[in-house]
């Protein structure tokens, strides 16, 4: 009995170790993969996959320049945002490595993300630059359109499972969810489309642009430099991994074989899923163009439509 306990414990600790290892390692790596894939599509060799690491360490070493109009909001926002995103990463089911079975409540997660958005927006407005203001205004507009879609997609999964705790919903244990291939797939599509917007990726925002007038996320962190910028970038990387991870988890749940696979296979599949999504984003960014600002609501409407389909499927349970 005792040996069993320690065995379980060891497994649990191993899992937690793997989780934190991937939490540290994966965010920059994912961005590296996106950049590398894009470079290959453009017939370039591109920077090494580990380039985001080198960029971050370089930024951490540099000295900072800040605007002389900023207040404590700007100084504190990067550290608050990063710690918020770490908490989100520990609560959200973005891999199957989720340690210690910490319950990750759906509404808490969404509001934690909103919390970090609140700080990002305020720190963008803090320096009093016109670009920061643009970026902030666009960010809240996009968030406003995307948030119901994310909420409804996840909530309909939760309603089908009968709990708002996402750890339980995504745990491969709920029999009610096992047969819901369509629901998982559509929820995954909706979440993926929403995360494209939420993460300021291509159809919504061009992350490589240097024209301040069209940027969303880059415009908001325009005043950040050196250490401050490194933290803001890292925060964004973590957000990319978490949101892509959640949508890739949805896709993985829609594949019946994953339900019967062993735990290690699942873990590998979920990490591979994130990388696959990253590569997929790179493909999209290579073939698609950035949409005009006024056309964006039409694009987001597709993710809202997906969430409506999710709701319909969740409601149809138990009617016949």
């Amino acid at each position: 009995m005792e040996s069993l306990l320690t065995d379980l414990n060891r497994q649990e600790w191993l899992r937690a170790g793997a989780f934190f290892f991937s939490l540290i390692l994966m965010p920059p790596l994912t961005v590296g993969i996106i950049r590398k894939t894009k470079a290959r599509f453009q017939n370039r060799i591109g920077a090494p996959i580990f380039q985001p690491f080198y960029d971050l360490t370089k930024l951490l070493k540099k000295d900072e320049t800040i605007s002389n109009h900023v207040s404590w909001i700007f100084r504190s926002a990067p550290s608050i945002n990063l710690s918020l995103l770490f908490i989100v990463a520990c609560l959200a089911p973005w891999t199957t490595l989720h340690p210690f079975g910490i319950p990750g409540d759906l509404f808490l997660l969404i509001y934690l993300l909103a919390f970090s958005r609140f700080f990002t927006v305020l720190s963008a407005l803090d320096a009093g630059s016109a670009f920061g203001g643009f970026g902030a205004s666009r960010e809240v507009t996009l968030a406003l359109l995307v948030e119901p879609a994310i909420m409804l997609s996840l909530a309909s999964l939760g309603v089908t499972a009968g709990t708002s705790d996402l750890t339980t919903v995504f745990s491969f244990e709920n029999v009610k969810l096992q047969s819901q291939t369509g629901l998982w797939f559509i929820a995954g599509c909706g979440l993926f489309l929403s995360s494209l917007v939420e993460l300021s990726r291509m159809p919504a925002d061009d992350p490589t642009t240097h024209l301040e007038l069209t940027m969303v996320h880059e415009a908001m962190i325009l005043e950040n430099s050196a250490t401050n910028l490194a933290l803001a970038e890292l925060t964004h990387f973590v957000k990319i991994v978490v949101l892509l991870g959640i949508s890739s988890q949805c896709f993985l749940h829609s594949l019946p074989w994953v339900w019967h696979a062993s735990e290690i296979t699942r873990a590998l599949a979920s990490i591979g899923g994130v990388f696959f999504m990253a590569a997929f984003i790179a493909v999209i960014e290579s073939v698609a163009v950035k949409l005009r600002w006024t056309k964006l609501p039409e694009f987001i409407a597709y993710s809202v439509a997906m969430s409506i389909f999710c709701v319909l499927i969740a409601l149809s349970r138990g009617t016949n």
């Binding site: 369509g182 039409e298 409407a301 809202v304 389909f309 149809s316």
Partner: protein, 216 residues
């Protein structure tokens, strides 16, 4: 609730049909229409596989060749000729009409429960849901859009809905009827495509809402 594969495919085709509503770009509309019809062809083929009725394979092939390949290509060509890229000023904003269409899917789910089974043992609840929802989608498309090309797409979607209903409920009509219908659609689309040229030539636009003098 476990889905049969053909039911899943027909719901997929309904969803793809609803996505047609989401944009006013005619090219994107046509590509969604292509995918939507592809799903319907797959449904037909799958039903052929279940029921072992070989003539349905031929019908599926016909649907694929005519509705997935030929008609969208033809309409793309027409679009280029009349030089209309998007459907401006829809009556209801495109995103909104898509969400309306999504709600219609729910409504048709409720409605299709009221329909008694047509042929004993064959009736599929989700199949008729999908068919009805496609029907609604087509009607919405025709109601909310102005350009004559969207009207043609709307008509095609409605036709798909009726076809899907027949296929899922009765598992296919005789081969002759199916082929006749397909040819009729083909001819209809070609005629309306040619009509478009004339409309464009005489009025310099293809806005249907301005063609109000269809009376004595």
């Amino acid at each position: 609730m476990t889905l049969d594969t053909f039911e899943a495919l027909s719901v997929l085709s309904a969803i793809l049909g609803i996505l047609i509503l989401g944009t006013t770009l005619l090219r994107t509309n046509l590509s969604f229409y292509r995918m939507h019809t592809l799903a319907i062809a797959a449904v037909t083929a799958w039903i052929a596989h279940i029921t072992k009725e070989d003539h349905l394979y031929v019908v599926a092939l016909g649907v694929f060749l005519i509705k997935v390949i030929f008609i969208p290509n033809f309409l793309n060509w027409v679009m280029k000729k009349v030089d209309v890229g998007s459907d401006k000023q829809a009556f209801i904003a495109a995103p909104l009409s898509m969400h309306l269409g999504a709600l219609m899917l729910g409504l048709s789910f409720l409605l299709s429960k009221q329909i008694p089974g047509l042929v004993g043992g064959h009736d599929s609840h989700l199949g008729s849901t999908a068919a009805m929802s496609i029907l609604f989608t087509g009607v919405l498309l025709m109601l909310t859009r102005r350009a004559a090309l969207s009207q043609i797409v709307g008509f095609l979607v409605i036709e798909n809905g009726i076809y899907l209903f027949a296929v899922t409920q009765t598992h296919g009509m005789p081969m002759l009827v199916e082929m006749g219908l397909l040819l009729e659609v083909l001819v209809g689309v070609m005629i309306s495509g040619l009509l478009l040229f004339n409309i464009k030539k005489s009025f310099e636009h293809i806005d249907v809402s301005q063609l109000t003098e269809l009376k004595d």
